[in-house]
Amino acid sequence: MKLTTVLAAAFLASSAFIATAQAQEQVNLTWQMWGDEKDAALWKSLADLVTEEYPNITVTAQISGWTDYWTRLPVLASSGQIGDLVAMQSMRMPSFYSILEPLDAHFESDGFDTSVFESSIIAGLGHDGTQYALPYDVGPWMVYYNRDRFAEAGVAEPALDWTFDDFKAAAQKLTEGENYGYAVQAFDFVAGPVALGAEYFNDSNQFDVTNAGYAAAVGKFVDLVAVDKTSPVFASGAGSITGSGRFAAGGAAMYIDGPWVLQQTKDSVDFNIGVAPLPRGEGESRFITAGSGWGISATSQHKEEAYKALQILTGPKAAEILASAGRALPGRLAEQKFWYDVAAKDVAGTHEVLDYMFAHSTPFRLNEYWNEFENLITQYMPLALNGDSTTDAVLGDIQNQLPF
């Protein structure tokens, strides 16, 4: 009787111990992400995929707005409160790679091959040859155009290898007073000149924005606004968003943006839209791409679990969900078809244009001062656009303020 009691007690105790041990294995990962309220359900469904696969792992998304995200991230990182999974955009990688865990060792341990992803974005989410994040989306900057306006003005739709002169001629033909052919945005002074063959860096990856090639290419885009009046001037406060608004309202027939806004643009317009590659210069077409993905925090306590979760979040099923919702053109090549079938369904030429652009992609050269450069373009370029200053003087001002 006594022995039975002891055995029973021992059994109870051990089962309690096993239960606690199991409970301890239960890992909750925090996932630092940006986005709108409306995307919350989408991220939740991705997080649920992880728990479906690994019942002991739960992922909780912490979502903040895009601008706040980048202010919060370094603060969270330096105060040790950063989540286990961290969203990262390719253009910010040079500033933030140090807070992320290098993934190469993890890839080796499970033999993961990154060639299932589009190669330019794999490069974009690495730094100095080390991979720090896996992508969920990718895309080049391309020209969105209003097909109805093109038809009305009798302008032929853009060819895949159209030149800057073709682009300019179209913009001029499409402009009628306040009804512009084109709406320039701040980032056009990065993607545009690169497509024309110009470089904003010198050979040692430092800013050299006053070099003749870049200045000439920027000058071409400035002239579209300052001389030919085919585009309105953007205000420094909203340099990166005004073009999309004008385009959606029908006040500008072309503007430049990435595939990440395609679904949203399509929903907000009441005309037919098409996409075209950026115009090229004398030489071959070349395009920069950007995208975002997720990495593991360098200070995470659960790196193994985070890596497992990362594989699911950037896996085929998650890519299919995001693509079918139109949220992202997947970085995974095989799942891109879901995006083409849904988001790009009624948009002329998307598949051919993106195939062409990926085939002609060029590495997006970045350094840790990239964000400053973009801000300076937004702040200073309006002076050249409204004729208060010259392109050379503005680029000189920008160069002066960049650390070197």
Binding site: V75, S98, P232, A235, S236, T378, Q379, D388, D397
Partner: protein, 312 residues
């Protein structure tokens, strides 16, 4: 903030000497414990960050990574090497001067007008006070949409055939746009403040002056204005301080542009600290701004002896 502290400090120190003798030690100790929660809060959230920012201003902290002590090189860079510092300082002072004068003149004018009304005084007070409790960012966003190229303002100007460049893309007009928005948001507070002060002016003084043959103009300059001068002084000091710190409107409407036309100290701190992650350098600018505000406030306190009349 500093000004309020200074004002209460001055008033407090006079009282404390009289009180201090009456309080015995035990009461002092009890009082200390009662004040402790507030004191801890103040030390934790005010004193420590202030000291931390002094220390930071001598480092090259980049938010990520460990800070390194760099001596006074941040200050040297600010005053000698940074091409943006002097334009930024000039913009800040220009904004403060224009905004301060316009704000005081307009709010005083409105306050006098409201106090002269036979009816509807309360209604107007509420109307003018409304912007004060509207969030600054929301105000700035709405005004940005109004002033945006091709926006409502441009539309109005075009329809009355006024040819002018768009406000936010023009180097001179952009600052004026910021000032207009700041006035819209800031005038109401001072209006209510001055209006309340004007209502406190004893009617008997004004009647006596009227009987002596003083006209409305003389009554305003010789009686009402001197009597509300302490309130006017408070309003001026507070407005000067907030205008030296201007940030929200610039952040939303112009981001310091076009060029550096609207870049002010407050915006420069944000830009260096939270966009470029140069926390050490941003702290340096913050301390220069603090010194400037202190100096300006001190000058105002010194000047008040010339024009502020206290009843006692």
């Amino acid at each position: 903030m500093t000004a309020i502290n200074d004002v209460t400090e001055v008033a407090g120190s006079q009282k404390r000497s009289r009180w201090g003798s009456r309080l015995d030690r035990r009461e002092g100790r009890t009082a200390f414990f009662f004040l402790l929660p507030g004191l801890i809060g103040m030390v934790l959230f005010l004193v420590v960050p202030i000291i931390a920012s002094v220390v930071l201003s001598f480092t090259n902290w980049k938010l990520l990574g460990t800070p390194q002590f760099v001596g006074i090189s941040n200050y040297v860079r600010l005053f000698t090497a940074d091409p943006q510092f002097w334009p930024v300082l000039r913009n800040t002072l220009f904004f403060t001067a224009e905004y301060l004068v316009l704000n005081i003149v307009i709010s005083l004018g409105l306050a006098v007008w409201i106090s002269s009304l036979k009816m509807g005084q309360r209604w107007f007070r509420v109307v003018f006070f409304l912007p004060t409790f509207t969030p600054g960012i929301a105000v700035a966003i709405v005004w940005m949409l109004i002033f945006a190229p091709g926006g409502f303002f441009d539309f109005i100007m075009r329809s009355i055939s006024v040819e002018m460049p768009s406000m936010l893309t023009d180097q001179t007009l952009a600052m004026q746009a910021i000032i207009i928005v700041s006035l819209w948001a800031g005038v109401g507070y001072n209006t209510v403040l001055f209006n309340a002060a004007l209502d406190m002016v004893p009617q008997s003084y004004l009647e006596a002056a009227r009987i002596d043959g003083a006209n409305a103009w003389q009554r305003f300059w010789k009686i009402r204005l001197p009597l509300i001068s302490p309130t006017l002084f408070f309003g001026t000091v507070m407005t000067a301080i907030t205008s030296l710190q201007v940030f929200d409107q610039i952040y939303v409407m112009t981001r310091g542009g076009p060029g550096n036309a609207t870049a002010t100290l407050g915006y420069a701190i944000y830009q260096r600290g939270f966009q470029n992650f140069q926390m050490g350098y941003a702290s340096t600018i913050a301390w220069v701004m603090f010194a400037m505000i202190m100096a300006l406030t001190a000058v105002q306190f010194w000047l008040q002896r010339k024009w502020v009349h206290y009843d006692n």
